[in-house]
Symmetry: C2
Subunit: 148 residues, 2 copies
């Protein structure tokens, strides 16, 4: 399992906007990735967090979760987002985190079988973004993995 | 009508991530806002544009269009995004733009009436993002305006 420092380094090197947003990796497992970001790098004209930042950190958290889960496979995969639906519940006036998780074990099994058979598959991942215990954004994304 | 230099300045001052993404205002009218951003500030591990950046520039383009349209009203409004649905069609390997537009005159009339009567309203705005003539992302967002 990759360590959180290594994932953070990977994000900074490969997706520089993650550094501009001040994203840090709080914790990671094969079931959940928690990223954090400060208000300071992401504020808008109302001194709340810009919606584009909330969405981008949610996308990174889901992408990272899939990336970690695909590390254990023999083949390497390219991960792309194909669709997202986002509900903004309230504004965020402080530092925030994005917690990504699987939508259910069934989905993952089906996805893994598709990767075995067709070397490609699609999976739905979710993230909750906001200050602790106060969800401000619900993100649902469909991601595709393609064998490279 | 606000000039494009003034809108760009406003975005940089009020939403610093727009500067980090290298966003510039290409053109603006009450029917369409065109923002541009370079690959350089927004690349990912595949040297294509990070999905979070495509979405964020689409959000800014729609937000700007609504902001410009509300400038002519007597009251001041706070604009917040409440929902978005995004379809990613293809990857982007170069500088890109986001073109926002109204979803139809009917919607705007209904929205303006709601602002008159209730001092608040919701409107759907769309943006197409990608290199010229090659849409890579379709963004549909619901925005709320609240009298302040």
């Amino acid at each position: 399992m990759m360590e959180k420092e290594r994932l953070q380094e990977y994000l900074y090197e490969n997706i520089p906007l993650s550094k501009a947003m001040g994203v840090t990796v709080d914790s990671l497992s094969l079931r959940e990735v928690v990223l954090r970001a400060p208000l300071l790098n992401n504020f808008n004209h109302k001194c709340t967090v810009f919606g584009g930042s909330l969405n981008a950190v949610a996308t990174l958290a889901c992408w990272s979760l899939l990336y970690l889960n695909l590390q254990s496979r023999k083949e390497r995969f390219e991960i792309v987002i194909t669709h997202s639906e986002v509900t903004y519940l309230k504004s965020v006036q402080e530092d925030f985190h994005a917690v990504s998780h699987m939508c259910g074990q069934t989905d993952w099994d089906k996805f893994a079988k598709a990767l075995d058979r067709k070397k490609r598959g699609r999976i739905c991942l979710e993230a909750i973004v906001g200050p602790k215990e106060r969800p401000a954004l619900l993100f649902k994304g469909t991601f595709a993995a393609l064998s490279v």
